[in-house]
Symmetry: C2
Subunit: 306 residues, 2 copies
């Protein structure tokens, strides 16, 4: 049974405060606190490439797990801001970590739904190919494509990276997942000529409609009731979307995690960063996870912490 | 049992003849005929995006299979030249084909090893998620990034696309595959500032060493002897690399397919284009497939035509 053994993540030290741009963008402090829920966004060092963020996340994981490099036989990077378009960033990470030749590497191009998709993709690929240990990286530094004058995006997205050790001795077992796509609305989150454009209203409408629609399906697939779920980990898009989903689904406040005030929406890294924080909680848990965004795309499922 | 049900492919009509640049590049006709084995490379219409090439390949597939659009629950595009970096090209293909919301879409970033990797990834993802019909696209139009003055690349790569219908009623069943990466040498095939750079000698050395090294492993994994293989379908990099692999592995000439004289190296589309051609042969076959290139990366395996 392949699942998540451990998680490491990296946030750059450098912060940009949203309080510093209140006047410039003509917004109120209450908007920052109550709608965005993001006081600071993290910004990577200009010289750091996407692969470097992966390496920094790996160092944190390696401190906890002491990974034997020759045991890693699969390495996937989820990103839409790769070092180069060609080769894949996973090959560069493979080089920088000095992994063995006997290692399958590829990138998955997805945004905020990418971690949940990636879990299903790496688990199934490893099972099919009899691989016991793999790494799933997420690193999508939007600072590469954000126009600092665009208040829709510059106050929202922060840089960061995560890496999950996927193994046949998991701490989190993966249940059944559900996936969907509204390609029709792909232009609502798009990078054109190197600059990110977002129709925040459309993304919000999309997520607040389709995630709840899919919710019952995921519970049924996993034969679990809403009350049996200990935590609901939604993609940390903004406080407003997480609050909206919580209210729509009538979920208890203490079961819906939100924790990006000090770093921002890290795209595909937002869910693993939350999971990393609950690893230390010493109890069995059933966790609903749901990523949504670029595509427009969503992926939801249940993971079981033993 | 998930496998390949059918394949469609697309080649642009527009051709550039390598005989027209003999003088400019100071090369002989014999080099074109005997080493490259490529008389023409295809070039896509400037206005056609990567997703458009996918749609054109799909039309050929649909003529053979009459696909019910709502039955497609998984759509993967293998590319390193997407329409945009964000969103994934699969979401755009999803829109253009008008597929249902109930469809998992993501892109895989890989080059010439991408089809073989993609087969394993989509098969395992579909099995894990109980999906019966999916589409695996390959489309990597290098004309977007080739400098026409670069003889290393401009005489070699041609545009094209393929789509494979992956289903639980396969014509080609997938055996065991093997994967590897030499990230150390990723700079030998790289796109920098929008321009492709290739160290052809290093790619050649890599492929002529690692594909043969992996060959016995793949036969053993599949419990099959060399003589039981009916066709060897190597990535169609050039005539020289395919001839070299044939000689190194001591394979009979009529079992090693080569067929890109009129269109060039189409990256991840080269293997499915060959498989498409042997679909019509009315016999059971065991086929060795091997893709290698960008990364540097390779993937080899056996597929069984029933």
């Amino acid at each position: 049974m392949i699942g998540i053994k451990n998680i490491g993540s990296y946030l750059p030290n450098s912060k940009k405060s949203n309080y510093d741009v209140l006047e410039k963008f003509e917004i109120s402090e209450s908007f920052v606190n109550k709608k965005l829920g993001i006081k600071n966004v993290r910004v990577k060092d200009k010289l750091d490439e996407t692969s470097d963020l992966c390496i920094k996340a790996y160092k944190y994981l390696d401190e906890k797990e002491r990974i034997a490099k020759n045991e890693i036989e699969c390495l996937i990077v989820v990103t839409q801001n790769p070092d180069y378009n060609l080769p894949h960033t996973s090959a560069i990470v493979h080089k920088k970590l000095g992994f063995s030749e006997n290692c399958a590497c590829f990138d998955i191009s997805l945004g905020c739904s990418g971690y949940v998709y990636g879990l299903s993709a790496i688990k199934s690929f490893m099972q099919e190919n009899n691989i016991k240990k793999g790494l799933l990286f997420t690193a999508d530094p939007y600072s590469k494509i954000i126009n600092p004058e665009d208040k829709n995006t510059s106050m929202l997205f922060g840089d960061g990276a995560s890496v999950s050790l996927i193994s046949d001795e998991p701490l989190f077992r993966l249940g059944k997942f559900s996936f969907g796509t509204i390609g029709e609305r792909y232009e609502s989150l798009i990078s054109k000529n190197g600059e990110l454009h977002m129709d925040g209203f459309d993304i919000f409408s999309f997520a607040s409609k389709y995630v709840p629609t899919d919710f019952e399906k995921v519970l049924n697939l996993n034969n679990i009731s809403k009350d049996e779920v200990d935590y609901f980990v939604f993609h940390q898009g903004s406080k407003y979307i997480v609050d909206t989903l919580r209210k729509k689904l009538k979920l208890p406040k203490d079961k819906v995690l939100f924790d990006i005030e000090d770093y921002g929406n890290t795209v595909s890294s937002s869910i693993p960063m939350i999971l990393e924080k609950i690893i230390e909680e010493d109890k069995k848990m059933n966790i609903f996870v749901s990523g949504f965004g670029v595509g427009l795309s969503w992926a939801s499922g249940i993971v079981y912490k033993r």
